[in-house]
Symmetry: C2
Subunit: 233 residues, 2 copies
């Protein structure tokens, strides 16, 4: 059995955000490795596959308090278990999806959320044709049942996938029903009380990073070519 130091609640509460964003990456990667029969893995191997610095991987692994063995590496299963505990993947959290258009349907059809502790247990839509049907096995309700469903199942997380102009209204409905956290896919800013957690899924931000990296690389390559040309000339 892999050695495991006592968890440090303070360290876990104050986890740096960049690290917190890397942990699910490790988790997914390690689950995939386990499926391929890998039982022990070194930090340098992880770093290489995920394009990270090996020391950073060791620092992150240290957060899990799973000890590795010099000359061999870390126990994959132990890391998976501890990451799941730290990220609270074992406590399934109920969530509802408001807006069952293309994006909402895609989320409702995605079967991978369970592995990350999220249970999408209901969808809501204003379209009477959708109401009463199921999308990816999840039942779709009319908007005016939102309050009762959320209260009855003590749902904590609301996912907003409605058009931009309806997002704030839906947000208000969710908060009125007692929701504590909002996962917002609508491309707009939501006004909420301070104690409500809002996570904006800004696909444009991600796209911009990609786009900028591409432009920058091409700029660099072009200036390299010019430099080459002039040194040859």
């Amino acid at each position: 059995m892999a050695r495991l130091k006592k968890p440090d609640p303070a360290a876990e509460l104050n986890m740096p955000q960049p690290a917190l964003r890397r942990l699910p990456q490790y988790f997914g990667y390690l689950v995939q490795q386990r499926e391929q029969g890998v039982e022990i893995i070194s930090s340098s191997r992880i770093a290489e596959d995920l394009n990270l610095h090996p020391v950073q991987v060791r620092k992150d692994m240290a957060l899990t308090r799973v000890s590795g063995k010099p000359r061999t590496g870390f126990n994959v299963q132990a890391l998976i278990d501890e990451l799941a505990r730290m990220l609270d993947y074992n406590n399934l959290k109920n969530a509802v999806v408001v807006g069952c258009g293309h994006l909402g349907s895609a989320l409702l059809n995605y079967r991978g959320f369970q592995g990350y502790g999220l249970n999408l247990m209901a969808g809501f839509d204003s379209d009477p044709k959708l109401v009463g049907s199921r999308v990816g096995e999840v039942p779709i309700y009319p908007l005016d049942e939102l309050d009762s469903v959320v209260r009855e199942h003590q749902v904590q997380i609301g996912v907003i996938t409605v058009p931009r102009d309806h997002a704030q209204h839906v947000c208000d409905l969710l908060l009125a029903a007692g929701i504590k956290a909002i996962w917002n896919f609508a491309p707009t800013h939501l006004s909420t009380p301070e104690d409500i957690i809002v996570q904006n899924e800004n696909i444009a931000a991600s796209l911009s990073v990609l786009s900028k990296r591409l432009s920058d690389q091409q700029l660099r390559q072009r200036s390299d070519q010019i430099a080459e040309g002039s040194s040859q000339g």
Copy 2:
């Protein structure tokens, strides 16, 4: 007209990633403000609406080299124009989507990408029923036409929305066709040459951040209650 210092190419190439991720956020926010008739805006107002520190907003605005006026603020349109230039939104980049299931369809139906410089001009799918049809006005081709379509239109960006187990194969096809950047929505790590830009859209990472923030807040609230209870007792 708003004052505008000369762009600084070095500063733009070496833009810090956290800042780069905030710029599209400002862009979207400012476009929305403009639609509502706002012409001048202060850094403190932006900061308040986007939950940022006002000094940070001013630093970020300084990156655009748009000068604000003391006592009034920044010209909204000037900021929008300069952000669009910095993020290269004006040069429409062609992209293809491989995998036209729920998520791929959602992307193809999303009409907002044009505003962010991305033109999804073709979809590919192995399902013969989809091939020849259109999803959100974008034509769907069979996979074996990927190479010719990508070459013909000099497409630089490939979007992968196929199931996990097909992602690496699709990635290889895209690279063979000359694609330089991959936007990967499949929950798996892709092996690529060093000069290829890969942006992983890890929805699980985002979800985990939300989930952890929720758990942590509830932990804090519970320990606050206990502290309250004992101080009262």
